[in-house]
């Protein structure tokens, strides 16, 4: 039976007239990577910070490892057991990588050997480098190392790849995948669709403080993602008319012909039609993604900067 690590029930966080977190309920299970996916201002960080015991809740309840985040004695227990990579992680500039990890480690009664953590995050070459001289990706890796130094059971990663270039982002993804193999439970917040889809076992789509949908990426895609599409690159208007007449759900977009396909059988029929027409254009089959799910349940897309459009 899967053990519940985090239990959130009817959680509300109110700032004056603004309801940043609006009556949300969810659970986190041991060993899973759980992603909060939503635009800036959706309530992701507020929720995470309530669970990290650094932000008070307005109403509802939140328990981590069974401990209540509102009780000071429980807070001490929670803080011992969690590791955190906060949003926009930073450290003391003039200290080295190892010294910064040591600093965080020094806050705990029990901690891992710093060299071990450095090795785990593949930071051995940079251990004596000052934090100020590191690239963005390496800084995030130091942040993850600091989050792991107390050997936590639950790791919060708040927007771990925001502002990183694609290469650095992939490096951080690899680190997160490793955490899963180490048996850590990971609570990830992100506004990158691909990140949530690649890394998470379960995703909660959150917008305006409310959870819109929650489930595994596969379930969400099959439930809300819509149909697969077949794209004929530069197929032209004539082909679009032909396919529309035979199969419906076809349109032309910047010269490409896009057909929404119900099932595999229909896919083969369309391919056969294209073969009969001796079509030599490039063909691409696209499956629905979390982005489609998001578009469907929220009614917008998230920009690179995290804004809802």
């Amino acid at each position: 039976m899967t053990k519940t690590i985090v239990e959130v029930s009817s959680l509300v966080k109110q700032y004056g007239s603004l309801r940043a977190v609006d009556d949300i309920t969810f659970e986190l299970y041991e060993g899973e990577v759980f992603a909060f996916l939503g635009p800036n201002g959706a309530g992701k960080t507020t929720t995470v910070e309530i669970l990290e015991c650094i932000r008070p809740l307005t109403s509802g309840s939140a328990r981590v490892f069974g401990y209540d985040v509102t009780q000071s004695n429980d807070v001490k227990e929670i803080k011992k057991r969690i590791g955190v990579l906060p949003q926009d992680f930073s450290a003391l500039d003039k200290l080295t990588v190892k010294e910064n990890i040591d600093l965080i480690g020094g806050m705990y009664e029990k901690k891992l050997d710093t060299n071990e953590v450095v090795k785990l995050l593949d930071l051995e070459d940079k251990a004596k480098e000052r934090f100020e001289n590191l690239s963005g990706g390496l800084k995030q890796r130091v942040g993850v190392a600091a989050a792991l130094v107390n050997d936590p059971q639950l790791v919060f990663l708040d927007e771990p790849t925001t502002g990183l270039d694609p290469k650095a982002r992939r490096e951080v993804w690899s680190v997160i995948e490793n955490l899963k193999t180490l048996g850590k439970t990971v609570f990830l917040t992100t506004h990158y669709m691909e990140e949530a889809q690649v890394l998470a076992d379960r995703i909660a789509v959150i917008n305006k403080g409310k959870i819109a949908v929650i489930g595994s990426p596969q379930d969400l895609v099959s439930q809300y993602g819509g149909r697969k599409v077949l794209v004929v690159r530069k197929g032209g208007k004539e082909l679009a008319r032909t396919l529309q007449n035979r199969y419906g759900s076809t349109f032309e977009h910047y010269g490409d012909v896009i057909v929404k396909v119900d099932d595999v059988k229909e896919m083969w029929q369309i391919m056969s039609t294209l073969t009969d027409m001796k079509m030599d254009k490039e063909i691409e089959i696209q499956s629905p993604t979390i982005e489609d799910v998001f578009l469907k349940v929220v009614g917008g897309r998230i920009t690179e900067e995290g804004e809802l459009k």
Binding site: P86, G106, A146
Partner: protein
């Protein structure tokens, strides 16, 4: 304790490796000490004031008269003035302005008038006659009874003739002209010296001897302290204050802005451990600052005001007090720019109003009232009492005030430091 020590170590290392931090915390105070020490600390000869002198009292062949020349010599003998002659036929002010050149400087001109010597001698004679007549009138009743009739008549005739001579002798005085810029900070000193020399001439020419004399002694201890020794505790106190109010405020606000404080607050670290770690780091910095300032002062200016254990205890308490103010301010402001602005706005007026660089008595009474509520006043006074005067009552009183303020600021600093988001 372990966590406080970890914060202390990390913050101290971070500071020691920061060039700008080191400059403003250590090098800048040392440079200021060197600068003030060079100005006030002795070495390299005494300072002199430029003084233009136009001597209009000349003989028929154009040479200065003996007495006017002697007056200028007397000015020279003080070794206070760099005397520059102004030709007798020149406009003294225009001449001085031209001589000072485009970069300017303060105009100080002494004009010795024509007939200075004659007027001085005649005026002196009148004074001598007047004093003699007055003395005889006062003394005569006491010895008249011892004289016979003939002697009495002769003396009375003599006194009457002297009285007549005194009444008819012309009253002549002479007047020196001193032209000084109203903005000249040294005007009072120059004027005081010139008046002293004029008075010495007045008394010397009538043959008067000083009745009141002065002897100068040090107020305390066997050591011979100089200005730089008195200045040293002020420099130490002032920069411990700026390190606390500007340094701690900007550093901790920067930690807050960059999320470092927030990251630490997620760990088991408590707010008071965080504050104590920072305060201890600041205290170490201030002890290092004190050691460096004292060593530099000793090597270059041979200062004798070396901190003893009592002074070190006061420095510790002062560091805690000003770090507490720094923590308090950083708890109130949101960004580093505001922290720097508010730190400077508090530290600099306090530095100049607390008697660290000049005595509080020099300031107007309303500023003296302000000085009495500034923590730096008690810190620099306490330190000066401990390092120089060894004045127990002053040490105890000021240390008690510093301790109480340190406790208040640390407690209030802890209260306003946010350890949880809203």
């Amino acid at each position: 304790m372990k966590r406080t020590l970890a914060i202390f170590t990390a913050v101290t290392k971070n500071w020691l490796r920061s060039r700008s931090g080191l400059f403003f915390s250590i090098m800048f105070p040392v440079l200021l000490l060197l600068l003030f020490g060079a100005i006030f600390g002795g070495g390299g000869g005494t300072s002199t004031y430029s003084l233009f002198v136009q001597n209009l009292d000349r003989t028929a062949d154009g040479a200065p008269t003996d007495l006017s020349n002697a007056f200028i010599e007397a000015l020279n003998s003080t070794e206070t003035f760099n005397i520059r002659d102004v030709p007798a036929d020149a406009n003294a002010t225009s001449y001085a302005r031209e001589a000072l050149g485009p970069l300017g400087g303060n105009i100080r001109i002494l004009i010795i008038p024509e007939d200075f010597q004659d007027d001085l001698l005649n005026g002196t004679m009148k004074v001598r006659v007047s004093v003699s007549y007055s003395t005889l009138l006062t003394a005569y009743p006491y010895f008249a009874t011892q004289l016979n009739e003939t002697q009495r008549i002769a003396v009375e005739q003599g006194i009457a003739q002297l009285g007549q001579y005194n009444a008819t002798y012309p009253q002549r005085t002479t007047s020196l002209t001193l032209i000084l810029d109203s903005a000249d900070q040294s005007a009072a000193i120059v004027k005081g010296i010139v008046i002293n020399i004029a008075n010495a001439f007045n008394y010397g020419l009538i043959g008067a001897k000083n009745v009141i004399n002065f002897s100068e002694e040090q107020p305390s201890t066997a050591k011979q302290f100089r200005f730089i020794d008195y200045y040293l505790p002020g420099v130490i106190a002032a920069f411990i204050m700026t390190n606390g109010i500007i340094g701690v405020t900007t550093n901790t606000t920067e930690f807050k802005r960059r999320g470092i404080t927030k990251r630490l607050s997620i760990t088991p670290l408590t707010k008071i451990e965080w504050i104590l770690g920072n305060v201890l780091s600041q205290t170490l910095l201030n002890l290092m600052l004190t050691a460096i300032i004292v060593v530099v002062g000793w090597l270059i200016f041979k200062v004798q005001a070396i901190p003893d254990p009592v002074s070190i205890a006061i420095i510790f308490l002062g560091s805690v007090m000003f770090s507490g103010i720094g923590m308090l301010l950083s708890g109130l402001v949101k960004d580093v720019e505001a922290a720097s602005a508010i730190g400077n706005a508090i530290a600099f007026p306090m530095m100049f109003l607390s008697g660290t660089y000049w005595p509080i008595e020099f300031m107007p009474s309303y500023l003296q009232s302000i000085a009495k509520v500034l923590p730096l006043t008690y810190f620099s006074d306490g330190l000066r009492y401990a390092m120089i005067y060894k004045y127990s009552e002053g040490i105890v009183t000021n240390t008690a005030i510093i301790s109480a303020l340190a406790a208040v600021f640390i407690i209030v600093g802890a209260l306003v430091t946010r350890w949880k988001e809203k």
